[in-house]
């Protein structure tokens, strides 16, 4: 028998709505955590939406005032492990033990507006070819092999160029954030 089209029906209780609001407020943190275990943005999106659904379903378990990010990361970790089990044949898969260990050592904050602004500023300073490569890797979601094919470079050359660009961005962004902090101190 054909199934009927699904539409939204029920109403959420105020606590669940507040938990959803917390998720939305900390979405960048949760996304950054998930993305650490997925090289692909689209896959991270899929896991993130599963996390949101579970957060909604288990909202009653969350005690208001406790650490929401830590709680949501626990849920995210289980979703990541679930996804990894489905793709256990993937050569780049990290073992569950390693994922556990990394999750336990994740810094409290993985995303800040300040770092985001700094990275964006530093991206403007990249040489055009390096900028193009970063764009292909992160906007186009192309791997080094595909980038090499598109640019008629060798894969090794692409790896080296990507590595250099990322090293520059890390160094530049950390200098930028440092400079902002120094300026803030000076104006206090």
């Amino acid at each position: 028998m054909p199934s009927s089209p699904q539409k939204s029906q029920s109403v959420l209780d105020p606590h669940t709505v507040r938990v959803q609001q917390l998720f939305i407020r900390h979405q960048s943190e949760i996304k950054a955590f998930v993305l650490a275990f997925r090289s692909n943005w689209a896959e991270a999106d899929e896991i993130e939406q599963e996390v949101f659904l579970t957060v909604t379903q288990k909202a009653a378990d969350f005690v208001e005032g406790s650490n929401f990010v830590a709680w949501a990361r626990q849920i995210a970790k289980f979703k990541i492990l679930e996804a990894s089990r489905k793709r256990s044949s993937s050569p780049q898969a990290l073992s569950e033990e390693v994922i556990d260990s990394l999750a336990a050592s994740a810094p409290e904050s993985l995303f800040s507006e300040e770092q985001f602004a700094a990275v964006r500023k530093c991206m403007e300073k990249l040489a055009p070819s390096a900028r193009k490569m970063i764009e292909m890797r992160y906007r186009g979601e192309h791997g080094p092999e595909e980038i090499a094919r598109r640019l008629s470079w060798t894969v090794a050359a692409v790896n080296t160029a990507l590595s250099k660009a990322r090293a520059f961005l890390r160094e530049c962004a950390s200098r930028q954030v440092g400079a902002v902090q120094i300026n803030k101190e000076a104006t206090r």
Binding site: S3, K7, L12, F52, S95, V119, M123, R139, A173
Partner: protein, 500 residues
Amino acid sequence: MSVDLRLTQLIERYFDGVLQQDEAAELGQELLDSASARAEFWEFAKLHNLLHEAEKLNAGSSAALRVINVGECTIEAPDLLAPRQFAWQKWAFTAAALLLLGVSIYLGAGVLLQDKPAQGDTVYVAQLRHSDNAEWAPTGAQLNDGDHIARGPLELESGVAELVFFNGAAVAIEGPAKIELLSTSRMILHRGNLSADVPHKAIGFTVETPDSKVIDLGTRFGVKVDPKGVTETHVFEGKVTVESSQKIKNAPKRQNVTQDNSLRIDQKKKSVTPGKADISRFPTPERVISLPLIDGGFEDGTVVGTSGIAAMPGVWSGDYCSVVGPEQDVTPRSGKGMLKFQLTFGSGSLENTRAQLMSSDQFQIVDLKAFIPEIERGGCSVEASGWFRCAVGNPESNNRFGIGVYSFHGTPEEARDLWARKNAEALCGSLKEIPAEQVEKRWSNVRTSTQLPKNSTLLLIHIFAKHIMASSDASEEFPGHYADSIELKLSVAPQSGKQK
């Protein structure tokens, strides 16, 4: 190679998705053994995420706001159809919407819970944009235009329905058809006819059929599955990869199908047959096409004629106006140039009529020849959009800016005469004005749209600055009145395959 360098290399390879099995084991051991290795991993993870976020933001920065309905409230939101590009801003907006409107929505890529979200595992992946006489199974099931559609099966008994997936892919389905939505970028066509219009940002959109898989590479294509399970893929623009579920002798398992070509896969007969694409057999979703308006950004080198309406498409012409860079306190809205309105007359205006003129106008003709097949089918509309701004201190209360778009049946050479008799000759037209005091200190957008009658062959775009009281000093009629970023879009209505 030093230990640190090797670790960095492994981490980079991991994040690039190219780690080999032995390397994964090596990296895993290092991460288990060393706290500093884990710290390095997370430092790199932060950068990896920031670069993704920055590039997604860059990719979506030019997308427009659109109005969406959340329950009974209508709010402006970043383009819902580009969720990934807007992931970052989108959430900031959503949080604000939640707090301000007291409703609960989730605009993540793939999930959209409306103001009354379900508690169960309901994942919304698409929206019903239009439907035309659509009857859903089971009989009596109701889906309305604008409804969000969850992951799962759908059966369209008759009519045409157009779904827009949250990754931006638009799919027109013609009943009878049985489909299943799997995610924001994947669906199954069990039987029936559909066509997909997949924008660049949604490349990879996949239609699975009982015997094959059609993977989009940025294109428009149609897929048909007949009752025997035979799959036909027709490519109207761009290319797709078709992957057959089982290898058929003398045919590759995966092959690309390019524009104007088709591929028929019959697993029972073990045959793969190439052919020509036939768009007329498929329903088509609504399409929005940027029309060839030339130099709408008024960049350096744009010629702005002063002799009234030109007799050719693709050039601005009208009254005395000029293209300028930043001046007074105004910088162009986009690029380095903008249009400055100057006088209410052009070089062709008669001396004795100049005193009565009140607006400084520019026109551009757009030849619709290339779009006649679409326009003749009916249901097309056109939207003109422009940005206007006054320098500080210049908006007088009787000044106005405006943009108009008019359709005619005629040739570019006839445009000037058609305009002179526009009350009788214009097939359709629309004009929108904005008082100049609303555009002081900031660029403001003015849009206007009109239906396109089936016999339209020509569009005339009209932008202007107008004063209601004539100025006594003709050299300073409009001392700081600017326009920029003029755009024109044609919306082509969805079509049923059977009507064509």
